[in-house]
Symmetry: C2
Subunit: 299 residues, 2 copies
Amino acid sequence: MLFGGIEGGGTKFVCAVGDEAGQIHQWVRIPTIDPAHTLDAAIAFFKKQEVLRNERLAAIGIGSFGPVDLDPASEHYGYITRTPKEGWAFTDVAGPVQKAFPDVPVGFDTDVNTAALGEQRWGAAQDWDTFIYLTVGTGIGGGGMLAGRMLHGLIHPEMGHVLLPVREDDPLARGVCPFHPNCLEGLACGPAIQARWDAPGETLAPDHPAWDLEAHYLALALVDFMVTLSPQGIILGGSVMHQRQLYPLIRQKVRALLNDYLVHPRLETLEDYIVPPGLGDDAGVRGAIALGQAALAAD
Amino acid sequence: MLFGGIEGGGTKFVCAVGDEAGQIHQWVRIPTIDPAHTLDAAIAFFKKQEVLRNERLAAIGIGSFGPVDLDPASEHYGYITRTPKEGWAFTDVAGPVQKAFPDVPVGFDTDVNTAALGEQRWGAAQDWDTFIYLTVGTGIGGGGMLAGRMLHGLIHPEMGHVLLPVREDDPLARGVCPFHPNCLEGLACGPAIQARWDAPGETLAPDHPAWDLEAHYLALALVDFMVTLSPQGIILGGSVMHQRQLYPLIRQKVRALLNDYLVHPRLETLEDYIVPPGLGDDAGVRGAIALGQAALAAD
């Protein structure tokens, strides 16, 4: 069977066709311009793949940047809602895809819940049913599962906006989030690093003080997530986490902050508890294929 | 049918027998002395009720102070684990009850998850399947549900230990939690109020500055829980919340901190979003009866 997956990001839409095992057979990267052009190009990619392979898609999954409407009873189900991204506020994303493939189940969720699903199927979370997937890049977003169910609620998690104490030696006067002076995203996303050190993070040396501060803020947030959800593990992805030196720093700081309050063998070193995505940068799009499979199974 | 419920707290065990509708027919309060005496007295209460009513209990639910072991595969399932409370570390709580009533399903969970279950059955959370129950008293603990399942994970939530920025005008040099200088419990539990103002909270006037600071810390924590779990509502119980002036203060501060970032009709006033327990101070013990019913249904 052939599945379609869309990882809808603020910069690019990655579309792929893959199989039951989540192996990707073909993919394309479409810039996130205006909704009509981007969604048309995504649909055209899938249509073309169907022709080339002489096989219909069995289902499509869409993991979208947010905020999104996940309430099946809502008139705006499948929409990106109140985003500051120009032209994308209140855009129906799932609708046009469903219309183009009327007989095919279409799954829709947040980008981070979708990546979490991919990690549970084929990545680092295969042994977990309660865990968090956090992406640290241009923004910071978190999703995950509890007892095998993706994290939905009144809306959906917005973990990037957890409020943190600002460290006294932080050279940044306030975080870059326009809503919150001291939320995780505002203090630790890629643009915050750039604003703080006047240089993009990827140009800073691995021993630059930027990384100690970055690890500090991420560790504070992870402790908050751990005491709120008690996850069996935490996956940290996104472009900022390409800085591999962050993982041991974050583990060490989480241990120091917890101060032996939570006692469990899995929390002793955190080596297999705070981990990179098993699927690397493909977690999002392979997760979208898994989401398509889940939509088919639920159909 | 007759159900037994135990609300096991650090100061007292409240035991009750009740019916399918969660109505309590008889109850007793047993001081939390040493485990043998307290558990024996609880079991004796239930045995006596069976004789008086000439009816066997159909199931028993236990909501216990923690940390507890909720992993059915663990050798310490049903235990209170590493508590600082003298004599209670690694105490089997569910085991002796099960042994005394060998043919009866015994449910076991945290005190706060159990109270949350009671609120969902008969209290303020009847329309919610994803919500938080936070108790603010001698300690601060949080539980709740996601998609109708109680919050379990690697261990269980410990929401009192979310880390907060200390407000500059806080006269307390550090929180009273021995593990964390700035966690919610350390800054906002009853003993923190007493340490900060040199008087028990219940003796302070409703317009004392204590309550603005208390509402501030609780609001910061609620924002963290809201962005992590996206609950459909939050129930605030416990003795500190007998100060009813806290509810409007907390709602106002949560709105200010969120700063319109999360958009949903239910978040506009928060009047029916941040609420007292519908069952008042009976949420714990009626929840325990609901937990017994759930254990029977799952049996």
